[in-house]
Amino acid sequence: MQRIGVFVCHCGTNIAATVDVKAVAEALKYEPGVVVSEEYQYMCSEAGQELIKNAIKENALTGVVVCSCSPRMHEATFRKTVAAAGLNPYMLEIANIREQVSWIHKNIEEATEKAIILGRAAIAKVHLNAPLTAGESPVVKRALVIGGGIAGIQTALDIAEAGFEVDIVEKNPTIGGKMTQLDKTFPTLDCAACILTPKMVDCAQNDKIKIYSYSEVSEVKGFVGNFDVTIKRKARYVDENKCTGCGLCTEKCPQKKVPNEFNLGLDNRRAIYIPFAQAVPKIATIDADYCTMLKSGKCGVCSKVCTVGAIDYKQQDTYVNEKYGAIVVATGFNPIKLDKYDEFAYSQSADVITSLELERLMNAAGPNGGTLLRPSDKKHPHRIAFIQCVGSRCDDGKGKSYCSKICCMYTAKHAMLIREKYPDTEVYVFYIDVRTPGKNFDEFYRRAVEEYGVNYIKGMVGKVLPEPDGTLTVRASDLLNGTQLNLSCDLVVLAAAIEPDKSARPLATMLTASMDTNDFFTEAHPKLRPVESPTAGIFLSGACQGPKDIPETVSQASACAAKVIGLLAKNTLKGNPCVAHSDELLCNGCSSCEKVCPYGAISYSDKEFRINGKMVTRRVASVNPAVCQGCGACTVACPSGAMDLRGFSNSQIMAEVDAICKW
């Protein structure tokens, strides 16, 4: 029999106003096992906690019930309190008589009665509580960053700076991500490459950082502090250790008709290529889809011109196994496909382009060497229309319901840059709202309007009509003037919504990290834990968590690094002791539990048991307490009742049910 102490909190008047706390304490005094029952103004205050501690010591309590606010609020506080008095912290149960009683009921009699019943349920449960000790597991002092864009790069650099090893896995041949494709950055208008490429080089040169380029994560096992990750290194048919990045092969390759993804298909590259001049690592990669040698076995030009013999047509995908203490997701974003937006004629006219395509057209390393020319006839455009919110803020099932956040700013940037470089070009921006919060952001937008004479028109474009003469008629309503415009333009730029990279969803499944309906990773808490996933040991960096611009991405990346460093700095981790465990004598070895475990925490082994004097070998389940997160799915899947959950055992829950239904 436990010796139980009951402590009823007034919470000032929060509870006491609608619950007769004295009556509650009095009623619970006569429950079996209760040796002391007291009430106090604020149990969570120092004096209140002292009261509990003293009562534990004076009455040699073995269990404590606190009737107070939600356990989500103060369970941790009171666990520490009872632990300080020498009790196991899990010998505590909380009856939630604030959120579930005093705050929702008005009738004092009714509320008091309910509070007593909840108190009884907690007492019934604590009778069956057992001391629990959290298991400890060591932390592997190495982090994995998935995605080598600016977010991943910044996180990796910061972690490495703190002295921990970091690996970056990047699915493309080079790190750098979307930012490498940008021309200038807002609000300072400095060139993206100038600020990004030094960081890429830092990554390559940092001896704590290892870059797995042209690689993907293919399997993740394990748990916080001890992830076991398999990385697939895709065959690039070039020996990374031999290739010097001289680029000779990329000039000699006879296959010239490969759409260049770096320039978004606005020009072509060869079948063997280095994405761009500052690529890190600067190693050539053969595109197996286009390489004649790989497809038909005839060619071999690159191999012939390579002076170091780096070309290896027989290269296979290889797999690397590595252990990590923490995993950072930095999978980034992509503009959405616009095939559902026929009204903007994106697929009908080459002169309707996305903003990212415009970045390439304006970039000195882009297809036109930095001169803005229309894709269709390479002529200088004299009137350009920018259309905002294409696919953003859409509730119609075609686009995204959220605001993509970065478009207003980059459009202002584009408009400004165009007006500066080509003053004879008229620029119109069709907007719904201009959203430019941020340091120096609104000023930036105003400059576009006031200094650069960009025409901002409130009103959405209803249709873009490609005309026979090669111009584009943009039909929009000018809401402020109450007119419908039919504007003849040379170039239309669409601010396409951004969405998480397609690789994020399968990755989330591997990591058992949750996602929202838009496939953005969910943070552990939207305000207080924005860079952590609810899955322990998984951290979020950059746009994989939600749309972000570069300044925001970089600050989140560093915040994320700080969290990772905090984890890696620990030698061991304390687990949650409320985990499943299997009664091996009851276990049938049927594998039902294993099939429903989302963490792979259950394994089977043949064990010898002495049953009725005979040695019997049986297949039984065992739970790895460090991996188990304590959901309890296995306990219901188990027909024999061999699986039970500590802290929420079958008997504990049934005792609560009994106590609640009793009166």
């Binding site: 006569y30 009725n612 009994d658 239904c661 009793k662």
Partner: protein
Amino acid sequence: MLKIKLSELPILFDALSAKNKLYIPSDTKGGARFLPYENGMKLTKELNTVRSPKDLFFPQTENLMDFKLEGKKIEVIDTREECEDFVIFGVRACDVRSFEVLDRVFLSEPIDTYYKNRREHGVIVSLACNRPEETCFCSTFDIDCANPEGDVASYICGDEMYFEPLTEKGSELLLGLSCLSEGSEAPVYECKRNIYEIKSKLPLSTLSAEKFGKDMMEYFNSDKWDELSEACLGCGTCTFVCPTCQCYDIKDFDTGNGIKRFRCWDSCMYSDFTKMAHGNPRVSQKERFRQRFMHKLVYYPMNNDGLFSCVGCGRCLSKCPISMNIVKVMKKLGEGKDE
């Protein structure tokens, strides 16, 4: 001898049930069963019920007493009540004998007052078996299904039913039942003669229990138990349909508003039967299986003047899911005993 036309049986049943609670074997979807008589209920045509009439003296579950927890105090509440008089109609000879087997257990010191209470208030009207079946072997245990015991014996002869009071209780029951008229004994003799004729043709009529009731260790150590028990599922069907099995378990049930201490039938075939601090003393199904038959054929008669605790009703023969039964056990164990 008193008699009544079969067609007028409902009048008798109404008269009997007006005075006492009356149980008659009647048909249900699950076979015949002793049911409290209600107007319009018909006597079954089946030879016997699936569950034996022991239910009525020794029910499957029975509340023994209550406890009340008030704060930290425990109060014991005696829930016993005096049983009202009742009549069981149409009990077969084998089942009548089963009451003797149960009596020897429950009515010897210390007396089981719950059982005694019911036994004292129950009147048994037995019924001779006109159409015994192949599973019957009551004669093995010297039971005569043509001459059933009980308080009143009854016989169905043609379209009439005859009654013969055998005890004072029985005479009392039949007293003043105006629906009954005097009848001659001749039809009853004819009925018995017919029964004997069929009995001699029963396939198990030659089964003998002579070899049992002794040689305890020899039977106990027989190597035939392995083979006999190998298919046993360890269910309790045989036990629960058996008219003489009398083992029970006592359990407490916490209702939330107090404790109910009840007993319920238990089966020696179960792995948790007679569980002790160290577990079940009979660890394998073979041992449990052996226990049941050793008890029926050896231990019980050795302790009870040679009375076997099997009455040959044949219920286990027809209900065992895997068709293992006491007849097979007797035959197998008996093999080679003569030589």
